[in-house]
Symmetry: D2
Subunit: 259 residues, 4 copies
Amino acid sequence: MTSSIDLNSDVGESFGAYRLGDDAKVLRSVTSANVACGFHAGDPAVMRATVRLARDAGVAVGAHPGFPDLVGFGRRDLNASPSEVEDLVLYQIGALAAIARSEGIALAHVKPHGALYNMAARDRKMADAIARAIRSFDPELVLFALPGTQLLEAGRAASLQVAAEGFADRAYAPDGSLASRLLPGAVIHDAEEVVRRSLRMVRDGEVVATDGSVLAFRVDTLCVHGDTAGAASLTRLLREGLERSGVAVRRVAPASNRT
Amino acid sequence: MTSSIDLNSDVGESFGAYRLGDDAKVLRSVTSANVACGFHAGDPAVMRATVRLARDAGVAVGAHPGFPDLVGFGRRDLNASPSEVEDLVLYQIGALAAIARSEGIALAHVKPHGALYNMAARDRKMADAIARAIRSFDPELVLFALPGTQLLEAGRAASLQVAAEGFADRAYAPDGSLASRLLPGAVIHDAEEVVRRSLRMVRDGEVVATDGSVLAFRVDTLCVHGDTAGAASLTRLLREGLERSGVAVRRVAPASNRT
Amino acid sequence: MTSSIDLNSDVGESFGAYRLGDDAKVLRSVTSANVACGFHAGDPAVMRATVRLARDAGVAVGAHPGFPDLVGFGRRDLNASPSEVEDLVLYQIGALAAIARSEGIALAHVKPHGALYNMAARDRKMADAIARAIRSFDPELVLFALPGTQLLEAGRAASLQVAAEGFADRAYAPDGSLASRLLPGAVIHDAEEVVRRSLRMVRDGEVVATDGSVLAFRVDTLCVHGDTAGAASLTRLLREGLERSGVAVRRVAPASNRT
Amino acid sequence: MTSSIDLNSDVGESFGAYRLGDDAKVLRSVTSANVACGFHAGDPAVMRATVRLARDAGVAVGAHPGFPDLVGFGRRDLNASPSEVEDLVLYQIGALAAIARSEGIALAHVKPHGALYNMAARDRKMADAIARAIRSFDPELVLFALPGTQLLEAGRAASLQVAAEGFADRAYAPDGSLASRLLPGAVIHDAEEVVRRSLRMVRDGEVVATDGSVLAFRVDTLCVHGDTAGAASLTRLLREGLERSGVAVRRVAPASNRT
């Protein structure tokens, strides 16, 4: 069905003296970079270095805002109010956009991180808050969200361009949500399996859930995680596998020279 | 000499459950608001509320970035590198600018806070870093800095519009620097004295230092602190005193509708 | 029934330049002080100052650990794992105990704060984690918890001394939980009403819920909030009201000279 | 001269999702472990895991308190007041001691980290503050400090047991201070050179400074950094080299069963 796909990865997740991920390598294979914004990971210096890497690799830069939970890496649900969520998302987008602007580029998309992404998938008020934050900053930013979720709906309702996101290396529960990382098999490490699943998402618009059921699952962008061991090579193999099968890998958002 | 002056105040210094200052009242009397950006004070929700208050009062909104030292309120010297300073200033400007944009206004100026302001007064590399951050975000932003300092020079060297800042309620050391808050008499609470000193700065371009010497001291903007007891009434009395003496109180930066 | 009661209050909730509560006054009327430990409120300097105030007032000092959520004041649910909760509670108890030791006193009790208190009331695994942290530090510490909750049960199961806590100035839902602060009437400001409800809890072992139903509700300690306007005078009026009615106000934990 | 020496290493410097150092391996070769306490590195869960590793390896556990500067890894000077330093050191010692106690051990020593260590080497008021914090918590704790510094003197003046610390893999300036990490050659990576310098410190009580001058330099403990690449093997080689030359490697502080 789809003959092209965007590849995205979460990058810029180092912090101070702490290194995480091999961003320079991962950025050679993806077309969209989701850059952490200092709340769950990243700091101003890491953000600038990451933006430069992405820019020089010709990769679209997006914001990857998260909860203010560095020790939990933004992976723990926090019952922030919609208003708090709107403001902290906007804050993070603005901070990254300023750094990107000083490096000569504009942001192309926004993908909430971790618990914020997962809570907004289920909670319409939180989803609407995120969509409001994005829209008020720049209505041309593309919102990345899981298919069939409140977040995707909220983006559409706010007239944002949305990109349905599949996870190339993650298992799915029968309801289409990501299987918890705490479960065995939740993260798929086998490159061939990752390519096979990705091709099925891209070409057939479906994914096999943990119970074996086949879910309709159209995607505009595929995420490969940058913080797992071997992420860089997995990403490269995925891109090669997709292209070998005739799928063009290109950014979901149009190249932008807005600054 | 000067027949008009800008009045500025540091606002938005509340944080979470903690309230500091009486911003709503202070903003009735000043023409420029320096809004804390979440590092030494302020949080995304406080920033939005403060931007709204300032906008509705017709007060110019500027960024008031500080060191990442909430428990020290940004008042403790931190030997961050110039590169770290550039990035953390840019981050904070961007975060506030995004919130301001969502409220329909653009930032007009930048005034570093506390130890960052004082270190940059003495340290040219830090000053240049701040000027670079501002310039790369928006070269039309006005930089507020103490007269005769490295920060003011750095702003000029970067072709920024600069505003020389006097402190209406602070004592000055013979070298023109602010007398330490730890010294008795460093903060002036008597309203008449504050008005008298301010008029001398504005009209005569001079200030009397702690040793009685008279310093040449031309200023474009006067700061009144918002976090001291009675700040709101002091600010009101200062404005009235200035206007009664024929000094027009108006913003240093031209009104901007850029967003 | 009971002829004596402990009065406790949350204190030490200032942070850096931010002041919250009138601890010096509140500590004149209570017998147990729950001191914030730097995660949701408080900092090392505030902790020391608060411990001194409590010690000099002859008030028992306890730890008031919370989630690491300063901007949310520890009031937002955070799905930390039981293991994370055990460690962060232990960390905070130890930090406060060290400061107390340097001021010549030992801790007498532990009362979790805000969302941690409320989540542990419902979630046995979190409650057990808190009880383990306390027990491993000092099995003589008294655990304060809401009657009928998992936290109280966990304390008993861990062979800790527990104190059932009533809230003098808060409304109760029909299930015995605290009515949400977001609801009107959740916080009771009328001193006479506070005294009347407190006497009924202390002498009759019951409280009237928001739907008018009467709940059995035996308490060993009563909390009065220190951070609301008028808290100090409310606390004083409550103590006077209790004593006038023949209820002795004394600490729940035996005086301890352990250091 | 000395026929025995303590080997220490900074450990527990991971944080949340971030890993730093190979503590399990390093702890096989050292006799004292300096455990980060959550301000510049470390978190409650990391602290517990590290204490367990050290305990199981029979290594003495000490506190490694630092400035509250996670993004700067505690390496940036912060002009905190002596009173602030005393309280933040005490806070961190207490937090770690509680976790150690829950794992069945007592702390044996304290070694300030990074900028705190270096500032206290020069600044007697800061040094006294650290000594006061240690003494008020447990006067039997051994203070690790650079020979000839204010910190060592402050420890002695406070009647603490002190251990003069040499750095096996760091260059020294002619005044006996550590050469800045920003200078080339400041960190020595060659194992043979590290062993040679260490033997000279231990047996001859001297070290060769960066200008070639020979400094008198008696040491009770040698530090090997745990966060550099190859730290674990360097530490092992150092221990083997020392023992091969007849130097006994044993903890500076007597084994303690106090809890």
